[in-house]
Amino acid sequence: MKNLKSSSASAELHAPAVSSFPEKSTEQREKLIRFIKPALVLISTAAAEIVAVGLPDSAKHQKAAYPYFAFFVLAATVLYFLIAVINYGKDKNFDKAFYRAPFFAGTVLFLNILNLVTTKLAVLPTLYFPSLDRVFGTLIEDRTLIFKCVRYSAEILSTGVLGGLIIGFFMGVGIGFNKHMSYWINPIVRILGPIPSTAWIPIVLIAFPTARSASAFMIGLSVWFPTVVLTSSGISNVKNSYFEVASTLGANTFWKVFRIGVPAAMPSIFLGLFNGICASFVALMTAEMIGAKYGIGWYVNWQKEMMCYANVYAGLIVIAVLFYLIITILFKIRDRVLGWQKGVIKW
């Protein structure tokens, strides 16, 4: 409430100051504008807390054990300020540290409205749009099962992605450099590759002993195709003069393959890896819906069948965070490896 007051006070101060002390007012104005960004976060959070705690829940909703949503918003805001202050401490750049403040405030506002129309007013069907308290509550109360599912999914995903990546990479290098491999393997890649990995389900289910290995294979397949195609095309697009220069410098074939071809093709290889990982998410979710015992995709599907939509949303949040983290890590690695490139696309 205090912040609401201060911002309205600033607006009042503003008008008369312009006429009497124009110079001082610009300075003051700039100062005030700077603090509007963090103030927005506080206002938005305060509003969300007031709605969450102050208004009574609709009777149509199942009651949550605690006001989880209020906790969550508070924790997120505290965390946001902590990070912003740490960033400010690093380079003393206030505008940079609070650059995302309006966005954060907006997100909280959106959640606040969502909370109002679901938990408080029950405008939307309560079965499909559970209260936010229960969505966030699930993340805490069901954490053991969710964690187990995440671990299970992560194991399958990493096995599949690593397998598909390694096979795809070496196959791509082989096709890119060796005429015979290109002759024999390339047509197979072209025919089998475009088949969506989920279309393999009927065969994969009988060919593999466990659902886990079947899922890992499908994920591997979905990573393998873009990796092999973009690795081999990356290598065949490397300027021939690089190889010529290398041979006049005394490089042997192995050196030319792995110290010229591969690094020069790296931008393309990363593109393939990015496409492959995105495809692997689809494969993972599908694979887990066809006979897995655990896994985050399985969790969402299972909860849907149980009509527990709070858990479905909680699962979706976990999936979003998980995949966001994976892609972010991938891009961090890429930025390190491709630091030499001009104008790399930022994630």
């Binding site: 220069v245 006049t248 410098l249 005394g250 490089a251 050196w255 690094p263 020069a264 030499w340």
Partner: protein, 257 residues
Amino acid sequence: MVIEFKDVKKSFVQMDGETVQALNGVNLTINQGDFICLIGPSGCGKSTMLRILAGLDHPTEGAVYLDDVKITKPGCDRGLVFQEHNLFPWLTIYENVAYGLKARHIYKEKKDSVNEFIKLVGLEGFEKSYPHQLSGGMCQRASLARALIGHPKALLLDEPLGALDAFTRMNMQDELLRIKKEQNMTMIMVTHDVDEAVYLSSKIVVMSPRPAKIEEILEVPLSQPRDRNNPEFIRLRSEILKVLDFAGKEHEIEYEI
């Protein structure tokens, strides 16, 4: 060190199945310490000569010998610099220059020479830069250092200054002469620029197109450093232009028919 072209012929088969004679019986001897310029209109096979010497192309007939050993493949005894600098963009200037040493697994013993050659071409302070951060002239210097670091017996230059602006170009010509002197290097350079050829070389090989062959080999009796306004310099230049003009006219007629 002696390089000998012995009756080198090279023909290419074009897309339409027609055979094009790129070199028609080239005989040439290059001695230690020579600065040879190959000059002639485009398509006269001068780059082909250099590529055969580098081992990147193979003659259809005849052979090139380096110290009586037939050249069959590229090797670190012949350094090569292209018109484009062709520095590896994913490596820093230091790593680019050190590349030859690393590829031959002698980097550990010869580590110090990397900085020595970076200094030789005047790029101290840019070791950690990437090629795209430097100007064209600087990149060409780095690519010179990269070719020189393995102490090749001969340095082959395929229009190395062609992509540079006039000012940088004249600057680099003097650099080349300085490096040649300091390293007692044999240099063979392909160029379009008559002025450059007279300024740099000890011998100028003037070539004619189709049938591609050596039209004339001119000794340049001038001592280094050379003055571009020296009467002998100007006389040589016009003589080459005359030979080239003749060659060029024949070329034109061929196309007019």
